[in-house]
């Protein structure tokens, strides 16, 4: 867990450290590296490496990253078309009401922000982002939906996300993109990575139907 006063620095640190660890010669010992907002989970095979070895390689990584801290990679940008409300965004009205806003105001807030993809999340390589500034954090559904379709755009707490795959979901769904995020026959599976930026753009149902199934691609 990174605990500086600087949230951006904490986030950048855990992701840079995960990338650095992936490139180490002994990386086969790591059975899971999961960087999120302010923490990095390192799972390792206790037969391939000891706790002490892992601690020392993590310390070495942090020291090296600190030395090269000025080096910043430039992220790519994605535009994501979204149909808001209706069947595709059943919780739009509830969330707007909770915030004391009109649905239009909530859509304006959601489309009015450039998001930084903070980390990958469940169910599968979901782009996790900070939600737009909302007066009230968005509660999760009391009873999660058994399944939500791929492409749904949702909010929970102070986070925003797009679901690359159909899965059970406890977040409030406000819209859906016709674009396909995940291609299991490609590597990488998804076109974005933490550090890339993203904006939502409101579309109508005609454009949704026309673009259904198109892959999400970065702006050139």
């Amino acid at each position: 867990v990174a605990r500086s006063a600087d949230r951006e620095l904490d986030w950048a640190t855990v992701h840079a450290l995960a990338a650095w660890l992936t490139d180490q010669p002994g990386a086969v010992a790591f059975s899971g590296l999961i960087p999120t907002y302010d923490s990095l989970l390192v799972e390792f095979d206790p037969v391939a490496a000891t706790m002490r070895e892992v601690r020392s390689v993590v310390a070495r990584g942090l020291a090296e990253l600190w030395e090269h801290r000025s080096r910043q990679s430039v992220g790519r940008h994605f535009d994501v078309p979204v149909v808001y409300g209706g069947e595709d965004g059943p919780d739009l009205g509830f969330v707007a009401g909770l915030e004391g806003w009109t649905e239009e105001a909530l859509i304006a807030a959601h489309t009015g922000k450039t998001y930084v993809i903070r980390c990958y999340g469940s169910p599968a390589a979901s782009p996790m982002m900070d939600a737009p500034d909302l007066p009230v954090p968005v509660p999760r559904l009391k009873s999660p939906r058994a399944t939500v379709p791929e492409g749904v755009v949702s909010l929970a707490g102070r986070q925003a996300v797009i679901a690359p795959a159909s899965a059970p979901g406890g977040w409030q769904v406000i819209g859906r993109t016709p674009l396909v995020l995940l291609n299991k026959n490609a590597e990488p599976l998804v076109p974005y990575r933490p550090g890339d930026t993203l904006r939502f753009r409101r579309i109508g149902s005609e454009e949704f139907e026309a673009r259904r199934g198109e892959p999400l691609e970065p702006n050139s």
Partner: protein, 346 residues
């Protein structure tokens, strides 16, 4: 003759391996064999790499018919293994002749059995692993009539009809006497539960009905979180012990979503997870407080046993010239595939 195994009775079976270790960094569960030890032993017994694809059977009867001679090993839950209706031992390499059928039935004292086949299966992989991922819809279907492609067959050197069993490997089987003792080391948020954390270790817990490869639910008197407030989403390890709704203990298994926002009060050790892979609803579990040093030592000791077993099997197979179809170092090639070379064909 095609080098396949035809599935007669699929039961509830998947083709899996030790897991998709590149998945968690992408927000995908690691998945893979829930009883990792049983999977490693099964592969060791047939001379395969530890991470070779194998079958994981859950609860239901399974039967298949190989079209070439194969050597199989069945580990995990206690079951009845038969080859053309003759009983054969588990935790042991067993020869199945082309056209014979083998069945693994009546799983008990455990929930999951593993079937490894000499040379393993040719199956699609995603990020280096064949383990099914239900979210992505990835995995090899095992249905009645499915044919699983083998990477190679057993050379015709084995003549078990001539008498004594070919191999005698002494493998220690897990003790499934109840209550099952499962070791737990401290989690990052243990302090959130104050004194009540003790309940995890003093009470016994009963495995609940709605348990699967994602997580196990336990009925009992759970520790109570003393703090409030949202935990920011972060990585949660396989084996995480949580009390999400305050009413039951949840242990996350290899199918878990990799991020969550509940406090983690403990983490089940690797040997403990192998035991939990075998519990059934209604089973009684006694959690035991352990340390990272103790859990590491235990894991290493057990893995050394498997490595020693793999060594003995390799020696025996080499003596029988069993690897002659693909002799040499390619057995351990990074790709995990066995490339047949024609030069040593018998």
């Amino acid at each position: 003759v095609s080098q396949t195994v035809a599935i007669i009775q699929p039961g509830h079976t998947v083709v899996t391996d030790l897991g998709r270790t590149r998945g968690p960094a992408l927000g995908m569960p690691v998945n893979g064999a829930l009883d990792q030890h049983a999977a490693r032993v099964a592969n060791a017994l047939v001379g395969n790499r530890p991470d070779a694809p194998l079958l994981e059977l859950t609860a239901f009867d399974f039967a298949a018919r190989p079209e070439v001679d194969v050597l199989i090993a069945v580990t995990g839950a206690r079951a009845q293994l038969t080859v053309d209706d003759y009983a054969e031992p588990q935790w042991h390499p067993v020869l199945v002749r082309a056209g014979q059928s083998f069945a693994v039935t009546h799983l008990h004292e455990g929930l999951r059995a593993y079937v490894a086949v000499f040379g393993s299966f040719e199956v699609p992989r995603l990020l280096g692993s064949c383990a099914p991922d239900t979210v992505l819809g990835f995995g090899t279907q095992v249905r009645a009539g499915s044919r699983l492609q083998l990477l190679r067959e057993v050379p015709r050197v084995i003549q078990p009809e001539l008498g004594a069993p070919l191999f005698l490997f002494d493998v220690r089987r897990p003790d499934m006497t109840q209550p099952l003792v499962v070791d737990v080391v401290d989690g990052p948020d243990k302090a959130d539960f104050g004194e009540t954390v003790r309940r995890l270790f003093t009470d016994r817990f009963r495995v609940g009905r709605s348990s699967n490869h994602v997580g196990l639910r336990f009925e009992g008197d759970p520790p109570v979180r003393q703090t409030t407030g949202e935990v920011l989403s972060r990585g949660v390890p396989v084996g995480a012990v949580e009390v999400p709704a305050g009413t039951e203990v949840l242990v996350l298994l290899r199918g878990r979503g990799v991020t969550a926002g509940y406090p983690v009060l403990g983490v089940v050790s690797e040997p403990g997870l192998d035991i939990l892979a075998q519990v059934r609803p209604g089973d009684l579990v006694q959690f035991r407080h352990s340390t990272i040093d103790e859990a590491t030592a235990q894991t290493r000791r057990r893995r050394a046993e498997v490595d020693a077993l793999a060594g003995r099997v390799q020696t025996a197979f080499l003596a029988l010239d069993l690897f002659s179809l693909a002799h040499g170092d390619d057995r351990w090639s990074a790709s995990g595939t066995h490339v047949p070379s024609t030069s040593h064909h018998i």
